[in-house]
């Protein structure tokens, strides 16, 4: 049984518009049998934080192409992407590259 995980989840670059314009979310993920990873975090975000047009944020079980993910300020491509196991106090940032120019 995985313990609850507290995270700072941030949205930027226009992604915050899908979350009522709120950029910073202090969240606590509940206990669950499996350890939390980014894949399960995305599902949780879709159910609990995402306010509108989910297809602009999530496609399939991952983020929409063009949304950058930083785990503690490091590119998620270096951290195992969807399989990264979340640690307590992690900072996860989603930045859209799809807006404006």
């Amino acid at each position: 049984m995985a313990a609850p995980v507290s995270l700072l989840v941030e949205f930027g670059g226009g992604a915050e518009l899908l979350f009522d314009g709120i950029k910073k979310h202090q969240v606590t993920l509940p206990c669950q049998p499996e350890p939390w990873d980014i894949r399960s975090l995305l599902k949780w975000i879709k159910q609990n934080l995402l306010k509108e047009r989910p297809e602009l944020f999530i496609q399939g079980d991952t983020v929409r192409p063009g949304i950058l993910v930083l785990i503690n300020d490091a590119d998620w491509e270096l951290m195992g992407e969807l399989d990264y196991k979340l640690q307590d106090k992690d900072n996860i940032i989603f930045i859209s590259t799809l807006h404006g120019g």
């Binding site: 226009g14 192409p65 300020d73 490091a74 270096l78 930045i95 799809l98 404006g100 120019g101």
Partner: protein
């Protein structure tokens, strides 16, 4: 912990570079990104010492990073450039007003001078008033054509020698895709290059970030703490570019070098030598560069001022001929050119006087030989 930086070998890497796959730490990435932009400027001979360069500043990520880098590199390497921020106010409530506020914050922090030109002032129409006439589609055609010319007019006012825009590699690749999908050969040849030479009211242009991936621009802005505006334009969801963009992002997710490869394809494309492309001349009305008797902006404005906003969009050669010859159009024809029907079209009061179709001075206009060979939508 992530892997170590492949440049310094000590610090933990902060990102994987999409073009090369290298993992770099934050300081090494910032240094590499700045140095590559400098090399692109030097290798492409984009600027000459003493030039005044107008930076097209929208308040978005690309132009904010471009302005930051040009100012930094101008000081670091002694380019000897006089830099000016140039913004276009299209008149889009809730979008451009907020992004111009971001430009003004950048102006305050950077100390660079800022000049704003507006569609209303240049053309007598804001994008919001155009959209009320036109409906949800084709707004980006008007906006793109008008913006291109507005930047030139603003740059001429400022006495600028060049315009630098923030187009990145993803933008370039999208444009190559779009032009391919539209079969727009002339634009494929022109649009994929480094910039344009200018002439006939157009100021020479360059794109110092055209090899830079969007991912790196966004991460550069994030790591440097740059403040930029990032809301999608209210009219953009209808634009064709969005589909090219989605396709490109899907391709990039499978193979990150797809972006650079598409840009390369666009740059290396050669046209059959016997292919005839329209010659570029000057607009008979405003003198701006045009491949037809009238430039696209003047055709679009003509349509707006006649209350026929779709006059410059799509294949309406026969109807344009009728207008030119002073023949009346039927209700159905007027409707095809975007005139409101009897039960629709709530127009703002100040434009109602312009709703009389096809009248004064039509036969004086240089419509002869006018043929739309180009694309149905235009992109700047």
């Amino acid at each position: 912990m992530p892997t170590s930086c492949s440049a310094c070998g000590t610090s933990p890497a902060a990102l994987r570079r999409p073009k090369t796959g290298h993992a770099l730490c934050r300081p090494c990435f910032l240094a590499a990104f700045e140095e590559e932009t400098h090399q692109a400027i030097v290798a492409g001979q984009l600027f000459q010492p003493g030039e005044t360069v107008a930076i097209g500043a929208s308040g978005g990520k690309d132009s904010t990073v471009l302005a930051h880098l040009l100012q930094l590199l101008n000081q670091r390497h002694g380019y000897g450039l006089h830099l000016v921020l140039l913004s276009v106010d299209e008149g889009i409530a809730g979008y451009r007003d907020a992004s111009l506020a971001a430009v003004r914050r950048h102006q305050c922090r950077s100390g660079l001078p800022l000049h704003v030109v507006s569609y209303r002032q240049l053309y007598g129409w804001s994008m919001d008033s155009i959209a009320r006439h036109l409906g949800p589609r084709n707004n980006c055609t008007f906006c793109g054509v008008f913006r291109r010319q507005a930047l030139d007019r603003g740059a001429l006012l400022l006495g600028a020698d060049k315009i630098a825009t923030g187009h990145n590699a993803d933008d370039m690749a999208e444009t190559v895709l779009m032009n391919f999908l539209r079969g727009d050969v002339g634009r494929l040849r022109r649009g994929a290059g480094a910039g344009s030479a200018g002439g006939e009211g157009a100021v020479p242009r360059c794109k110092p970030l055209r090899h830079a991936y969007e991912k790196e621009i966004v991460l550069y802005a994030y790591f440097q703490g740059l403040d930029y505006f990032s809301t999608e334009c209210v009219y953009a969801p209808q634009a064709y570019r969005g589909y090219a963009r989605a396709l490109l992002k899907d391709l990039e997710a499978i193979r990150p070098s797809a972006v650079a490869d598409l840009c390369h394809s666009g740059e290396r494309l050669s046209l059959r030598p016997d292919l005839r492309l329209p010659a570029r001349g000057a607009c008979q009305r405003c003198g701006y560069v045009a491949s037809q008797p009238l430039c696209k902006a003047c055709v679009l404005l003509e349509g707006l001022d006649r209350g026929l906003p779709k006059l410059g969009i799509g294949k309406h050669q026969r109807l344009r001929d009728k207008l030119r010859d002073g023949q009346p159009l039927t209700q159905e024809e007027l409707k095809r050119l975007g005139a409101p029907g009897e039960n629709e079209g709530e127009l703002p009061k100040e434009q109602e006087t312009q709703m009389e179709p096809g009248v004064k001075g039509a036969d004086k206009e240089p419509w002869g030989g006018w043929e739309l060979r180009g694309p149905r939508g235009l992109d700047f």
